[in-house]
Subunit: 253 residues, 8 copies
């Protein structure tokens, strides 16, 4: 610890990095950033943009970049993207930003950041166009955790031929995330056709009774095939769960 | 009306029959029997056994037999069956009883009763064994309304091969009733494969969140194919609706 | 297939038409269009405007017009109508657009498109003014499927005289769609007065407990007459179901 | 007060009566009996049998008889009836008991008890046989409060002719209680036909979604006519409310 | 009828008035106006502003004024008020408008309109300031039906002294409407203190679990005193119900 | 630790006591008993009888007596009481058992057990007889934690005089637990009358909408006075919370 | 009283103060202000900004300052703050305003106002940044009631090390308010680690099933440790409850 | 196929085995048994005992043993166990039965059956004793799929020391199933401490609001750590999902 503190004193290590190393988290004006989450639980700490001001998001992103070389923000709106961009321009001008406006995520990485690389492939499957946002969020975090991602889109059961056509690709994956709204039948049908773990991701489409993804969620929980499920629109959670499975598979390859 | 009353006076027509003809309903000790329901709305009046004593069921069944030549009872338990049997033995000894203990229906018909006959076929489809009770109730009333019934059982989507194997038989029907519990995905899948009207019949299987048929019901209401739906376990309603469609088809053949 | 591909090569058939013929669906930048849905399931494929950008709606509508000669869009807002209008002006300048701003549907047809024509009539019934939107959506798709439509408006049970006055017209239809909000009693009353299939269409009016159409939906599911039901505001689904019944009736005339 | 206490001392007034007169309630081993409820709020205090042991019911009934000359018990089962009967045989042998086993109420009155008599009539209306229990409870308490009761049974809207046939009788009442289960449409239809206050009484019939009276309750709350409503199966509350209206009408006659 | 038609021909009676007299309703471009509702059911027909365009509201209000001399609109917003004002300026320039912007109702009356006058008083009671809107709607319709209105405001149970202070005024009314949000305890407490009918009016205040008036509604339905209840914020319904009771009381005075 | 282990070896300390001292919990065949819960969190560990077999309850009770000198069991049925009695007769024959059959709790104490004694009084208040069970459970655990208990029963708001009569006694307590079912208004009214903390305890009485204590719970959560609340029928939790407050008060006296 | 009225006549006491002293509440144009709430129930009367116009808030705040020397407003928006500021500038220019824009509360105090001071400390604990608003509201009212406040922020259970690090500070408090959204596990974990009363404050974060704080609320009600709970986002209620406990502790110190 | 049919003719292969091989399922009197489910989807077909008669269970078990050498029955009651035992005694006398009466599963295996063996370990974790049944079901099916099972029991968060003590064992597993009822906090806490996939298994303990496992389910879906979840009490589903992950891990070892 003495070495570390001397490095701080010498300006070689920032106080935030030192705090992260010593305490496991770094404190910014906008709250604590759990800098050791990835090493402890295999999950990169991500910043949830919802309910935070642009300034708060930017402060947390800055801390994230400083301590881990990467910031992942989900459910981010344009003003917060601008705030992060400006903060990063100041403090980490060499960093690159990737922003998916529709799926509402932002990833900032410094040139020295090394993304993990796992020898495992996660299929991210959608029933239709309206499932793209949570599926996109899931695919992003799977990628950030280092697994390969295969997208299989638009294979909803209303025209079963599309589903059947995709069977071979579905069977080639190590683990599947299947996103569906409305009645959410696709994960059930897929899980009956493959022999890998399927994670059901209900999507908040639909209106009237059972709308907002509630029918899809309860249908997946009741599935007559064996699914595990995440909350409605919880693409991040589905992606992390698939990423953790991919880590286990990779560890043994 | 004078003729009718004279016939009553002469003992040729029972008071119940006369009342039914004049008022549209016949009064028994256990309530009114809507004797003209079938001629008015195409639906045979049925007696719901649930929540009635055996004596009440028997009284209503007797009135039904007396005024229409047939009594249909749904959700009937063994003691009420016995009560009906005894009443009928007295008042209509030539009548025959058909009782499905599992699907819990009883039909009594006099020898002179002529069941309608429709030139139309209704497919009654189940996902699994546990859908048998409401499906059986539906099939019974379809038959009593005069349509042909084709049973297609055990074709749930957990093993899609069973569903695909049945496609030709499904496409041969004029109208389909598809019963499913748990996540209730089968009617959605079937409606994507055929070009006839599909009535979804949710079944009260399943446990936990969305159990008691609620997930199946909301999934069918949210279906990305076009289903009409009846309430959970409402086999009678599904059967009547299919029977009314069959009547329309028959009328034009 | 060779012929088809040669026609594509010769520019006589567009790639989208060829893909639709070969695979059953056509791929646009905004997702797949299920071009064979109508021939397979009797239901014209429609584009749901909700949750899509104007550009996506326009791209899908263009594909629909190109492959089937018609585009049907539901729940469409003005900007998307403009986008479709512009796209169509480019790619199918001879096409005509019909737009119902209140019921929020748009239908585009090319001059060569031949709408089916069924020998069957569907009654579309409303309890009051506020049921007009889903009823209008239902009537549109019934018409596009080729059946005749009879509108019977403003016959809610609060003043029963209006309902009774309409009985003869109601009895003249082959199948009825009955739209009602609040307590949703009208379909129950109508089904007791006619002998044709009645499809209940709950409408999202009402406030407080049971609002947003939930009371109407649960009342129709519990109806003491035999209704089949669609989800709240699901005019499209009700119309398709009535259209499929009309097809069956027509087939036998 | 001195007079009262001297009367107690002289054994002319029981301690319970004296406590009731002084404090407004009488204490028994099983809880307090609100002996002045009727004079204060116009509502006879009643004992709810549910959730009490036979001994508790009997103790409270004894106190009621002692202080007011009458005991009204609702939702009572046979063992508690026996316990009351035995207690009354001891302490008020001249009292008479009326017990409606099906509607589950018991009324005990001493010979000297004078039931109030109101110059007003309450119609108690049922849609069908299964509404008899809460309707019976309502009719009992209306009668105990002194109003005349007219029963109009079995006029549910599934066969509207029955409803229409009853219009004149319905219009003759000063206030109406209308009991209905399933979709609960009858009170809405009745309120559109009469110009007196209608109290909707939802009944816990029906199964599946909206069962247990929930659809009937929400439908009555959403009614497009003007109903006031009580809870599911709350026949006692509906009857008291109608009785209070009858008292107001009587007071002015 | 001949006389009426000749009067129409002579321009002495408008077609709308004639239609109303003959059919019971008058047809405008925006739907039917139930012109005989008041004579049939004692309830003045009112126009619900929610979900109608200003033009539709104005058309219906014009028909109402023309056929009954009065238009009552509830849940009306400023633009619709303007539209009514302009229409009325054209077609009934002598009419007067009363608009309560907060309680969102508008009443238009022609000089010749005679409001009924009932010899009965309705107390309209609120727990706090936030109950003013539905209470105001209730008071308006009570007044339009001809009963006297006594307002008793701000007597919620959080400081019971305010409630107790109001007891004498509460006991002086013939019928009470008691509006309360949050936990909705006031109607229960009031009904324990008076001997007249109490109608509970739940108000959509409160947040979190049981918010939007759901806790108030369920509490009133469960009340240990005898309340009848209307839906959340249904001030109009509560007022009509109280008005109908007032009519019954008046009829006998 | 050596001493402890030697004491075990010498038979002076049982293995269970030693484990409890060393690990904080003692292991029985039926699960772990958290023997240090009271010293750590001030709450005596209690055994929930629901969902355990009589043998399991007895095994856990034996461990509790052995390690802490007392066993507290809630929601216990007669067979489990018998099992505990037999086990205790063997292993701690000098222990005494107190069993409240109605409130369903059992407390076993050895002669050497010293119950804590707090200088603070907890009022346990009920609206009516049916609140006795959870109130009794609350009073028991308050007593076991060492506070004095004052019972104030049968003061529900339906007859407000009873509530007002009790105000002085209510104001004398240091903290109040107020149990109420149905609409659950009593805690709100009490909290407006006193200046001590009030814990609302909803009771699972009532039927129909909001039954099973749901209306009472949501009403208490929405209370316009400041209550904290526990779950429906959670007398144990309410009692513990009051006991912890009493401990804080006592600590400072 | 004569003295008081003479003081009013002499202009030494305002009418509002006099009314407050005599009746317990003061009437403003915007409703009554319960000026004796604090002396009666220990809770300072606060003005809920939600659902009131800026003018109403300002009028009530003016009355509060006039009668008690302080105004507390919760859930206040900027326009109402401006209105209060202007009103206070006129009527109490020496007063100071404290406004927390994020936690949305405003406190106005006159120079002569003496805040109570309690010898007790309340810990206000948050799981994460998004719990700041209700926690801030709770801390404000605790402070206004006179207790010391310790903030312990950002100790959610996702990284348990943060929770464990805080144990000593948690154990130092006399009572704890623990705010948490999403699954709301933190109060359960904290209550297992301390021996003081813990009040769970669920926060309306989270999306999908169980969102809006419903999962957190039901989890806290089901907690396997002993929590009392307030409604979702009810920081004010939690703070008052903690303040009342602090008053009890202080009274005995 | 010829060979197979000749083997059937020769009595070397049973008709059921032959059907299973040819069609993928075997037909018994009680429905179809999906004999190729394991080879197709990696999940052994299991028979759900709930809702089937003992005879039906026995018939399906016989078919299962005949075609796959093993029968797995979940949610089985004693009479069905007896029926299976008798059937097996006849048709496969060498088979062995393992029955867990509490966790309600039964496994029958013939001597020649070879259970798969996976090089992966699944931790099955419980919060308390009442989680044993679904956890036991999960552990059984994990074992039948060939993975090693480590049980970690009684580590609920109410006494966090128990949880912390178990961290090393938890971190040693390849995948974790964590069962918890009440507020269901354990999976959230565990997932924050380990870096392997955690499947949350909510258990139907608890009473009042959020009881029957609903609070646990919604809490796990809202978890601030990354869980995937199965339905309440769905031990079988959790076990299969963990087993599928174990298969993926094993495949790469």
């Amino acid at each position: 610890m003495r070495d570390l503190l001397e490095a701080v004193a010498a300006g070689e290590v920032s106080p935030a990095e030192a705090e992260a190393e010593l305490a496991g988290y770094a404190t910014s004006g906008a709250g604590r950033f759990d800098a050791t989450r990835e090493s402890r639980s295999g999950v990169p700490e991500a910043i949830l943009g919802d309910g935070k001001t642009p300034a708060e998001v930017a402060a947390l992103a800055e801390t994230a970049v400083e301590t881990t070389g990467r910031a992942i923000v989900t459910r981010i709106e344009a003003p917060a993207v601008t705030a992060v961009r400006e903060t990063v321009a100041d403090t980490a001008p060499a960093a690159t930003l990737r922003w998916d406006e529709r799926a509402r995520w932002l990833v900032v990485t410094t040139p020295s950041f090394e993304r993990p690389s796992l020898d495992a492939t996660v299929g991210v499957v959608t029933a239709g166009t309206s499932d793209a946002v949570p599926a996109g969020e899931a695919a992003m975090i799977v990628g950030e955790m280092g697994a390969a991602v295969t997208r299989v889109d638009d294979v909803g059961v209303a025209s079963m031929a599309r589903t059947i056509d995709a069977v071979d690709r579905l069977r080639d994956q190590d683990v599947l995330i299947v996103a569906a709204g409305r009645e959410g039948a696709l994960p059930t049908v897929v899980a009956g056709l493959v022999d890998v773990p399927v994670i059901g991701l209900p999507v908040s489409t639909g209106y009237g009774h059972g709308g907002n993804g509630e029918a899809a969620l309860s249908g997946m929980l009741q599935s007559c095939t064996a699914l595990s499920v995440v909350n409605v629109d919880a693409g991040f959670t589905a992606g992390v769960q698939a990423g953790l499975i991919a880590r286990q598979i990779d560890a043994t390859r």
